[in-house]
Symmetry: C2
Subunit: 676 residues, 2 copies
C-alpha cells in the first residue's frame, strides 16, 4: 500500500512545454538588448476553472520578479497554449519563469452566465457561493476596489434566488425602460433575467476581485529558465577583417578607420597582434622553413617580447594600440581581437609553466597535430594538466587584460579543440563584470560541437556559409539556422571569405561571384563579414583544389590600402542593412519559389519593414525566373518596391514576378516593399 | 573576478538530447514486456579522443545497473549520434541512463595508425606514450588479458623509435617472407612499416586493454530517465464492451465468454456493475423522471446495497462475479471494469463522508454539471475537500478491492475532470504491488489534457478516432499518434463506437460503413474495441444530429445475445491481428498515395512481416484508385500478396497498383506480403 498523499494539497494546474527552453533549461537562450522575449507554455487543469498566468522575469541587477500577463494564443477555441512577453533592457544573465493560478470568482461568473443563458431557475446555491467569494475579496481589497466589491455584494444579496414563473422581466436596480426589450431577449423561457446580473458580471468587478484575492492553486515552473542578453552587435553587425601588419601597424589602421566607418562596418577584426615565435617559424605559403625576413604566422603566438598579453613590436606599442581602439570607438567601430590558445616554441609560458603543456613520457613536448596534419610552429596547452586551475585562470586573465584595454569583442580561434566546460567557465567569468563582451566562435567542425559552443556561451558563431553555394544548400542551411530552434541561441556570422577559406566558387566565378556572395552574406544573415582582399576579388588559390590563398597573408606582409572595386556595393549594402530592420534579424526569413535553381529569392519582414531579395548564383550567364510571393505573407495584392541597390522601382504582386539577373547588368535585387 | 574553477577536473564529454525522454524526464515513456527500448543521444567532446558509451538500465527488482553497448548511428561519417538498446523483461518502473568515457589506448592506436599511414618517421614520443598506457592496463588486467598485454608491451619496447632511411621493410617479429610484398606496399616513402605495428593495433589487444582500464573522464546523464513497462495487452488488445444486465448478469456473461474468446477478443469491458441510485434516477433516453421499473444508468453509482465496492444484486453476487472472472481467465479473456468516480444521491459515502462532496455555503449539495449540461443523478467528489487524503485513499482502496477480485484492467470514466496529481498518485499506488494492472483513460477533451493523462500514467487512452472519417483526417490523426513523439507514451484504443458515440458516418452508411470502420480500427491501431450492437450495425440515433443511440442501453435493459452479421468479419480481423506482428504496433505505419480520396491505404511492417491495407471510406459507391508502394519501403519490385480477408492472391509491385473497392464486393483489402 502506498503511503497516504502528503499533507499539502497537490497543485492541479499543469505548466508544460515552456518555450524557449534550451536543452530543458540547461543552457540559456539568447536575446540582445531591446529585444522582446516571447514565452509560451501549455497551461491547463482539470475542470472548467478560469485560469490566469504571468511570465515572471528578472534582469541581472533586479532584486525581484517583474510580471507580464500571459494570454491564450487562441482564446476563441479555448486552446491551452499561453503566451506572454517582456523586453530585455540590459546586458547580462536574466531568468524567467511562469506562474499560473485559477480565479474562483471569474469561474463563478463564467458558470453563472452559462446557467443564465440556459434558463436555469434555481440559483440559490450559486448566489450563496458568489457572496462568499465577494466577502473574501472584500477582506483583502485595496481601498479603491473595496467600494465596488461592497456594492456588488449588496446587490448580490438583493437578488431573488429563484426566478419567478412569470415571463415578465425581473427588474434590476438601475435598469431603464429602454433596456427592457434587450433584457427580455436575453431572458430564457422560464429563467432569470441575464441583464439583471450585469452588475456582478462586469469586467471592472472581475478585475477588482482578482486584485483583491490571493492566487488560488498557484503553480510555477520548478526552476526559472536562463536567458543571456548581450549587445545588439552580437546579433547584428558587419565585420571587416584585416592584418594590421599589412596596413602599417596600429597607426596605419588608425588612418583607415574613418574609411572603415564610412563603409558601414561595425566591427574591425584583427588576427593575433602578439609577438610571433621564431623557432619552427613558417615561411611563405606555409613552408616549413622560414627565411630570415619572413614574419611568421600571427597565430604562432609568443616570443621573447612576450605572450598573449603583449603586442608585436612591429605593430606599435600598447599605447598605439589603445589610441587605435579609442579612435575606433569615436567612429562607432568596435575592434575585435583574436583569442587563440596556443603557443609558439618561444612563448614565455613554455619556460614559466612547462606543466601547462603536453609532455610525453620520453620528455618530448607534443606540438599541435591532427594526423596527417602537423602544426610544428605551435604547442597546445594541456587542459588536463595537474595545474589546470592556474592555467584556466591565466587564460581568463588574458581576455580580461584586453577588456581593460577597451576590447569588447573576441574572435576565438578553434574553440572546438578546447574543453566545453572551460569555455562555459571562461565566458561566465568575463561576463560577470563585463556582460557586454561578445565572444565569436571560429569553429568549423561537426554540428553538435558548433551548437554546443553556442550553448555554453559564445555570442556569435562562424558557419558553413562559405561552403553553401547552391540554392538547395543555402535554403536548407539557412532554414536550419533560422527555424530549427537554433535561432534561440546560435547567432551566425556569414563570413564570405577568411584567410583560410577561398571557396572554389569565388576562384572560378570572378567579380559576379563575389557580388552574389556579398549580397547573400549581407542579406541572409544579420551578422556577416569579409576579409580584406574580398573587395579586390582576390581569388588565386595556392594550388588547384585548395581553399588556401596563394601567397597567403598569414605568412607574408602585404602592402594593403582600403580600395577595390567592390567597396561601393559594400557601402551600399551596409547602409541598406542599417536602414532596414528586417535585415537585422534571422528568424523572419521566408524563402520564395523562383522556378529557376540559379535564382534564390527570400523575403524578410519586421514590423513596418519588408525586404525581398533575389540573387543569381550563376556568375557566368543571364538567368530568368519567376519569384513567387505567396498570399500568406500578407502583403498587398500589388506592392510598389524599390531596388535599394540602384533606386529602380517596380510593381510586384502576390503570385509570380518576372526576374532577370546576370553578370552584365546586376546579380541581385534588394527590394524594399514601399508600403508593407 | 570569478572564483577559480573547482578542484575537480570538469568532465569534457557531453551527453545531449537523450531520447526517449518525455518532458525532460519528468514523465516515463512506455514499453510493454518483451519490447526493446532504443536509446540515443549526442555524445561528443573536444579533440579526437576515441569515445565509448553504454546504456545503463535497471528493472523494477534489479539491485544495480546492467549495461548495453552504444555505437555511433552512422560510424562512417563520425556522426555524434549514438544508439543502444535493451529488452524489457518485467512489468514495473524501469530506469535508464547513459554513461560515456574516452579510451586513451584506442585513441593512441588511432593516432599512431594515422601517423604510420602519413609516413611519419620519428615515433619515439608516441611509443613511450603507448608503453605507459599498456603498463597502466597491465596493473588492472584480468588474468586472461594480462598475457596479451604483456606480450604487446614487450613487442612495443622492441620497436625502433625512428624509422631507418632505407626503403627495406622493417622486420616485425614473426613476420613471414610471404608478407613482404604487402608490408612493402603499406609502407610509406620513408616511414615505418605499418604491418610491423599490427601486434599493437589488433582488436583483441584493444579489447583487453579496455577491459583492464578505468573509464577515463566518465560522464553520465545527471539523472536516470524513467520507463514504465506494462503488459502486452496495454499495447495490443481487442476489446468488446457489453452491459452485463443485458446478457443476464454475471452468469449470462459467463455463458457467452467462450464465444467472446472464439471471436478473438482479449478484453471484455463491463460498464459499472455497482448498485444504482434511486433518487433522481434517469428514465429511458435520459429523461429526468424514471418509471418504477426503469433500471437507471449504471454510472449513477451507489445505493442502499453499497457503493463502488459492491455489485448490483440484479447482476449476481460477488461470488458470481469472481466465477465469471475466473472463467474469463481460463479462456484468455481479461475482464475490464469501469472506474467512475461519482456517486448517486444514495451512495453510502454521502452520509458516511459528507465532507468528501461539494457543499455550497447555503448547505445545498452540488451535483455534476457543465452548464448548460446537468447530471442531476450524480455527485462528484470534492478533490479539494479538507479530508482529501482520506478520500484519495478510499478511491485507491476501491481499485485495489477489484484487483483483489482478479480485475487487471480499468476503464476510467472522465479522468480529465479529476486532478492529474491524483491520477499520478493513484496509478503509482496501484502499480506499486500490481505493475501488471492496465488503466484506460476515457477522456474526450483537449489534446493537452488527453496527453497529460497518458503522461501521468494511464496505460491506454480513448481517442478522437470516431470523429476522424475522411482520408485526410485519418492520415493526419494517426500520423500524430504514431510519429509525433506521442507514440512513446500514448497508447490509443480505437473504439469504433461506444454507448455515447454513434457517429453520423455509421448512422448514414449502413453495413458498408460499419465494415470500413471496423477494418480501420482493427488495422490502424494495435488496440481497438467495439461496443455491443456494432456487430448488428445498430445505427439509429435518439434524434437527428445526435450521437446518442435511440433507446440507449445506458438507461434500459436490453435482451442481447452474441450474434449479428459482422461477427465473421470481426473474428477474421482478430485472427489476422494475432497472426501478424506488424498489426500489433503503432509506430510502424506508412501511409500510401491512392490517387483517390475515398480510398485510404497504409502499410505496417515489422521484422519478417508486412501488411498492406486499403479501405474504401465511401459506403455508397464503388471506388477505383492506384495504391502506390514507394521503393523506400524496401519491398521486392514485385511481391505476391494474399488478402487475409478472403484468401485471394495478387501480384503487387513497387509503384502503382490498381484497386477497386465498393459496398457490393468488399470494402477493404488486408494484404499480407508473402515474402517481405
Amino acid at each position: 500500500m502506498p503511503p497516504p498523499p502528503s499533507d499539502r494539497r497537490p497543485a492541479r494546474i499543469q505548466i508544460e512545454r515552456p518555450e524557449p527552453a534550451l536543452d530543458c533549461g540547461r543552457y540559456a537562450v539568447k536575446r540582445s538588448v531591446g529585444d522582446t522575449l516571447e514565452v509560451s507554455a501549455d497551461i491547463f487543469r482539470d475542470g472548467h476553472e478560469v485560469l490566469r498566468a504571468v511570465v515572471r522575469h528578472r534582469g541581472p541587477e533586479a532584486s525581484g520578479w517583474t510580471e507580464s500577463t500571459m494570454a491564450r494564443v487562441d482564446a476563441s477555441v479555448g486552446g491551452d497554449r499561453w503566451t506572454g512577453s517582456f523586453e530585455v533592457t540590459a546586458c547580462g544573465r536574466w531568468s524567467y519563469s511562469i506562474a499560473a493560478w485559477h480565479d474562483p470568482f471569474a469561474s463563478w461568473c463564467d458558470e453563472l452566465a452559462r446557467k443564465l443563458r440556459a434558463g436555469q431557475r434555481d440559483l440559490a446555491g450559486e448566489l450563496s457561493e458568489g457572496a462568499v467569494l465577494l466577502e473574501q475579496a472584500q477582506t483583502g481589497a485595496r481601498d479603491d476596489d473595496r467600494e465596488l466589491i461592497e456594492q456588488a455584494l449588496t446587490f448580490l444579496r438583493s437578488l431573488p434566488p429563484v426566478a419567478a414563473e412569470t415571463t415578465a422581466p425581473a427588474t434590476a436596480p438601475g435598469s431603464r425602460r429602454s433596456r427592457g426589450r434587450r433584457a427580455l431577449k436575453a431572458r430564457s423561457a422560464a429563467g432569470h433575467d441575464e441583464a439583471a446580473y450585469a452588475a456582478v458580471l462586469r469586467p471592472e468587478l472581475l478585475a477588482a476581485v482578482e486584485r483583491s484575492s490571493a492566487r488560488a492553486g498557484l503553480v510555477t515552473l520548478p526552476e526559472p529558465l536562463p536567458l543571456e542578453v548581450d549587445p545588439v552587435l552580437a546579433r547584428f553587425s558587419s565585420w571587416y577583417e584585416l592584418f594590421p601588419r599589412s596596413f602599417g601597424g596600429f597607426a596605419g589602421v588608425e588612418r583607415v578607420l574613418p574609411e572603415i566607418a564610412r563603409l558601414g562596418f561595425d566591427v574591425l577584426y584583427l588576427p593575433p597582434i602578439h609577438p610571433i615565435g621564431v623557432k619552427n617559424r613558417k615561411g611563405p605559403n606555409n613552408s616549413l622553413v622560414a627565411g630570415p625576413d619572413d614574419p611568421g604566422s600571427p597565430w604562432a603566438i609568443g616570443a621573447a617580447e612576450g605572450g598573449h598579453s603583449a603586442v608585436h613590436p612591429d605593430l606599435g606599442t600598447l599605447e598605439d594600440f589603445d589610441r587605435m581602439v579609442a579612435r575606433a570607438d569615436e567612429l562607432g567601430v568596435a575592434v575585435a581581437l583574436d583569442f587563440a590558445i596556443q603557443c609558439s616554441a618561444d612563448h614565455p609560458w613554455l619556460s614559466e609553466h612547462p606543466e601547462w603543456f603536453h609532455r610525453r613520457p620520453d620528455g618530448t613536448l607534443k606540438y599541435a597535430e591532427n594526423p596527417p596534419k602537423r602544426y610544428q610552429d605551435i604547442y597546445n596547452v594541456n587542459f588536463d594538466s595537474d595545474d589546470w586551475p592556474a592555467l584556466w585562470q591565466a587564460l581568463l586573465d588574458v581576455v580580461l587584460h584586453w577588456v581593460s584595454h577597451g576590447v569588447k569583442i573576441f574572435r576565438v580561434d578553434n574553440p572546438h579543440t578546447k574543453p566545453l566546460p572551460f569555455w562555459q567557465w571562461l565566458i561566465a567569468g568575463v561576463h560577470r563584470h563585463h556582460p557586454d563582451v561578445i565572444m565569436l566562435a571560429e569553429a568549423f567542425t561537426r554540428t553538435t560541437m558548433m551548437r554546443a559552443l553556442a550553448k555554453v556561451g559564445f555570442n556569435q558563431s562562424y558557419t558553413y556559409f562559405t561552403w553553401k553555394n547552391s540554392r538547395a544548400e543555402l535554403t536548407e542551411y539557412v532554414t536550419e539556422l533560422a527555424c530549427s530552434g537554433m535561432q534561440e541561441y546560435y547567432r551566425p556570422n556569414f563570413f564570405a571569405n577568411t584567410p583560410d577559406i577561398l571557396h572554389a566558387y569565388l576562384q572560378h566565378g570572378g567579380r559576379p561571384a563575389f557580388e552574389a556572395r556579398l549580397v547573400l552574406a549581407a542579406t541572409l544573415s544579420p551578422a556577416y563579414g569579409i576579409y580584406s582582399g574580398f573587395e579586390h576579388c582576390e581569388n588565386v588559390p595556392v594550388h588547384t583544389g585548395s581553399e588556401e590563398y596563394l601567397d597567403s597573408e598569414k605568412y607574408e606582409i602585404k602592402q594593403r590600402s582600403l580600395d577595390g572595386p567592390l567597396l561601393p556595393l559594400i557601402a551600399s549594402l551596409n547602409a541598406i542593412r542599417r536602414a532596414n530592420p528586417a535585415l537585422q534579424r534571422l528568424d523572419n526569413i521566408t524563402f520564395l519559389e523562383t522556378e529557376n535553381d540559379a535564382l534564390i529569392a527570400y523575403t524578410k519582414r519586421s514590423p513596418g519593414n519588408a525586404v525581398i531579395c533575389v540573387v543569381s548564383i550563376d556568375p557566368d550567364r543571364e538567368q530568368q525566373g519567376l519569384a513567387v510571393l505567396p498570399a500568406s505573407l500578407g502583403l498587398p495584392p500589388v506592392c510598389a518596391v524599390t531596388d535599394l541597390l540602384d533606386g529602380e522601382r517596380y510593381d510586384w504582386r502576390i503570385g509570380r514576378n518576372y526576374v532577370r539577373l546576370g553578370p552584365r547588368e546586376r546579380m541581385a535585387h534588394v527590394l524594399r516593399v514601399d508600403a508593407p
